[in-house]
């Protein structure tokens, strides 16, 4: 699957990161190269004459960056699962493990000026849009320091040009079309990436959004993160056509191997250029897999076998496959990746500690942000004696 890696020996590695330079001096990674060319899993195209590049180059810095980002998300989600089981996290909690290459690949072809809107499986996306692991985990545990002040929880995380985290299946998709129109109107050379799952792909409002965005040729990249199961229902039992990249009908589309971070990156690059050239929207299908159940209350094994999950983990895991690829291409060494793993572990562990001990939001936060400048009023507390005034 990841064949065709050809290392191109260029100058010796000189990472821009200070830490990596230090490592290089200490350990002398003379064997690594600064850049390697590689081919990605071929795309499938719908109503497109030409697709994204299947041959590309990957720099050493990017290799380390993508690896780290995917590892942080994996580790963070494992931590979130543990926090949920120990009842530190309330609300509903949908983990992203297995799908890391999607958000890492897409975001690395965009800037933070491009907009993103996604559904409830939002933790990985929140991280890629600049929210710290601490900001995410503290949101999950309902702390003041959470990225939505502890008021949103698992499904609701936001940052600049990151429109969240939406709880209702498919509801975010028409919003994405609107966001794209606003960007087009501003003429700021940005796109809106509108994500939804294979389950949401069957919601009617998706097709309303498709029609509007093609009618007005909006710079909107629709991305169906197909993780094969809409809750407990396998795609083929819920969709008359599981070729999600063709389901925009009159909107061209691309199928992408969502376990290949570079394929995702290249396709997103292509899509952004395509949209900004005025040709209108695209529908991408990023085929991926989720390791955990739909949410924490779903063990994830009643509608698929353990063997199936195990097989994906062993053969198609986006992180371990990328890891062996970049090591094989001499972009990085195993020892460097081990350092990254160690560093990531510490970052996540620290964040877990804070997310468990940070203060909770003041009770008055219950009734702030209901309206613009919510007028001040008092609410009696849980006992008969305390009164809380809104600030």
């Amino acid at each position: 699957m990841f064949s065709g890696i050809v290392s191109r020996v260029s100058s010796l590695s000189s990472s821009s990161s200070k830490k990596a330079v230090v490592c290089t001096l200490l350990r002398s990674y003379s064997s690594t190269v600064n850049e390697a060319s590689l081919s990605v899993t071929p795309y499938k195209l719908h109503k497109l004459d030409e697709g994204p590049n299947t041959e590309t180059t990957l720099t050493r810095d990017d290799a380390l960056k993508y690896y780290r980002e995917m590892q942080v998300i994996r580790r963070m989600e494992t931590a979130a699962g543990t926090l949920y089981k120990s009842k530190e996290i309330r609300g509903f909690c949908h983990l992203y493990s297995g799908q890391e290459a999607c958000c890492v690949g897409i975001q690395n072809a965009l800037t933070l000026d491009d907009a993103i809107i996604t559904a409830y499986r939002a933790h990985g996306w929140a991280y890629m849009r600049g929210i710290s692991v601490h900001g995410i985990l503290a949101e999950l545990t309902g702390r003041k320091t959470g990225c939505a002040k502890g008021k949103g929880g698992s499904m609701h995380m936001y940052a600049k040009n990151f429109y969240g985290g939406n709880g209702i299946v498919g509801a975010q998709v028409p919003l994405g079309a609107g966001i794209a129109l606003a960007h087009q109107y501003r003429n700021d050379n940005t796109v809106c990436v509108t994500l939804y799952g294979d389950g949401a792909a069957n919601q009617g409002q998706i097709f309303e959004a498709f029609n509007m965005s093609k009618l007005w040729d909006l710079p909107c990249i629709y991305v169906c993160e197909n993780n094969k199961y809409g809750m407990g229902t396998a795609v083929e039992r819920a969709a008359a056509s599981t070729d999600y990249y063709t389901r925009g009908d009159y909107i061209p589309g691309i199928w992408i191997d969502g376990m290949d971070v570079i394929a995702v990156r290249e396709a997103t690059k292509f899509s952004k250029e395509y949209c900004l050239s005025g040709k209108g929207p695209l529908v991408l299908e990023v085929e991926t897999y989720r390791y955990h159940g739909h949410s924490m209350s779903d063990p994830g094994t009643s509608y698929r076998t353990r063997e199936e999950v195990q097989e994906v983990r062993q053969q198609r895991d986006p992180i371990s496959s990328f890891r062996s690829r970049i090591v094989e291409a001499n972009l990085v060494t195993e020892a460097e990746l081990k350092d990254v793993d160690k560093d990531v572990r510490k970052e996540v562990d620290d964040a877990v500690g804070k997310a468990k001990s940070d203060p909770r939001p003041a009770i008055t936060e219950t009734y702030t942000h209901v309206y613009h400048n919510t007028p001040g009023y008092s609410v009696r507390g849980c006992d008969a004696f305390s009164v809380h005034a809104s600030s």
Partner: protein
Amino acid sequence: MASITGLTCKTFAPISLFLRSLRKSLPKNLVRNASAFTFHPQDPDKSLGETAKMNLFQSLTNAMDIALATDQTAVIFGEDVAFGGVFRCTVGLADKYGKDRVFNTPLCEQGIVGFGIGMASVGATAIAEIQFADYIYPAYDQIVNEAAKFRYRSGNQFNVGGLTVRSPWGAVGHGALYHSQSPEAAFASCPGLKVVIPRGPTQAKGLLLSCIRDRNPCIYFEPKVLYRAAVEEVPVQDYMIPLSQAEVILEGNDITLVGWGTQVHVLWEVAELAKEKLGVSCELIDLQTILPWDEETVVKSVQKTGRLLIAHEAPLTGGFAAEIASTIQEQCFLHLECPIQRVCGWDTPFPHIFEPFYLPDKWRCLEAIRKAVNY
């Protein structure tokens, strides 16, 4: 503002020390996330024969089992219902009645209800599940504009009486914004619909069978916190409980308490507390059917007690308590001894971590009773 507890601790050092040591012995992360309530099981109705121990979801499965067995046109569909549904209400039914009668749909609420309306308009019995009441809004248009009006607009040539939409409803302790809502009032202004909410297994079975067999489209909300928590001896035979009839659970003289679903159990405890702490005798009414509601039972009760408290989880403003209050002030104006009390969720989205603060818990209800009797 100094709290009473704070003052007590300062004044009585030994007590304060005792409290502190007590707190130390508790786990650090102990947070009360759900408002406490005690489930009050219903005594089995002997006239209905043999009973079996069932929790709420089992009694619903039992009701649907009977519906499928007694009506060859009945089908059940919704997201994940074929393997039992997320709350296990349809476990075993697909195996027993076949995939053509109990089947999964894609995730498309508007489509699910529209599909059910189509089926019912031909005369079939369509039992649709919307996975959470919070997800019913994409189907709102179909329910309000199609289901509720089909009979009226066709001059009774067509109807969708065979449609029942079931949906888990209400607070569950940790559901946050989109797994906790109680949207009954949103459907209460749709003439043509019936809206029903049970409080326990026995009642749930009889009411669901009534909804399924009623010749009007019904919205049936199931308090999800009770699915497992509520266990009763449920009659195994086929029986129905009439719609639009409230049940007087406790008889009393000083104040009428009206609730439905989980809140009935909160009010039950409140009635006991009020008797014990305030010497107030409460009459407790479970409304059961929100639309069309049993005005007569409530009016009769308030004419006797002169006071009324209505409590529900949905936000205060525009909640169904407002409709009841408005009717009662009109019908019972000269009997009322005090303003009608509404104890409801606050006018905020359902909060992520402030659920116990948001909910109309027993203390808030008790305080409202005190206020009412002292008026």
